[in-house]
Symmetry: C2
Subunit: 152 residues, 2 copies
Amino acid sequence: MQISSRFTLAVHIFVCIDTFGSEYKVTSDFLAGSTNVNPVIIRKILSQLKGAGLIEVARGTGGTTVTRPLDKITFFDIYNAVECVERGELFHFHENPSANCPVGRNIHHILDDKLFRVQSALEKELDSITLADVKQDAEKYLREENIYPNAF
Amino acid sequence: MQISSRFTLAVHIFVCIDTFGSEYKVTSDFLAGSTNVNPVIIRKILSQLKGAGLIEVARGTGGTTVTRPLDKITFFDIYNAVECVERGELFHFHENPSANCPVGRNIHHILDDKLFRVQSALEKELDSITLADVKQDAEKYLREENIYPNAF
DNA sequence: TCTTGTTGTAATGTCAATCATTACAATGCT
DNA sequence: AGCATTGTAATGATTGACATTACAACAAGA
């Protein structure tokens, strides 16, 4: 299985807030337009990001703002916020290995630390990338677009 | 989403082959007993492992053997064999970001290298763990069981 | 205070993947 | 030939993802 597109959507949302926030009111409809994803899905993600304290969403009036400097928000923060992985466990284990088999009743002992190492490697890399890195590249690509505005 | 239990099942299967292969004929029914998973599912996984050249399965007569020394089979080999991740892409991207939005039409450029880094970190760690490592721990736990055979 | 634009959320539906299960032809020993 | 086993198709239950409709709650401006 793949990690839910909620993750890439969430990052997309942050880029939009940063790029357009000063010029436009960034609503769920606005974001739905940019991502081409249903506004209700966007609101669900916004609600998760809000729950993690990463953004603030204005009820009634609408609009979204980021609560922290971008270099203080990592991919791991976002990944946790949008709950890409059930119970924080990357690997799905077969539920009931046989207690009658020596291998079956020890398979968790044998594998858990190794699976944890793999999961930690993923999480560590996620934690090494911040939205400031993303912003930097975003600005680079948007600038190049302005230099060659009609290139395609 | 989580990585399919096919992965942990496949490792479990290897441990069984190594532990019991000299004493028993390791059939899909035998493995179904140890894993507590339907034999047809086991056969599907065996077929994928066979397709990757990691094991051989005897038609008709039944039984499974490993084709290589265990230190030459990594978790990454198994992970690839059982196709836990579609198209090899760990992150599911939202399909059609808006071409009318500067962010929408650049989001792939902006994110792809970062997502690739994360995926590579996962794969590198998977590749650093071999079935020989698993065998070593398996023997340790099984030995401890024999020292305290009725412990629980 | 009424209107307007928006958020939050429930309800429903479609689709794809996982895993279980039944069934059976094909296979290769004995 | 008989037998245990593999390979595979078909069907079903369950779950998560994402889309969509609907509407109450909300905040601000007219």
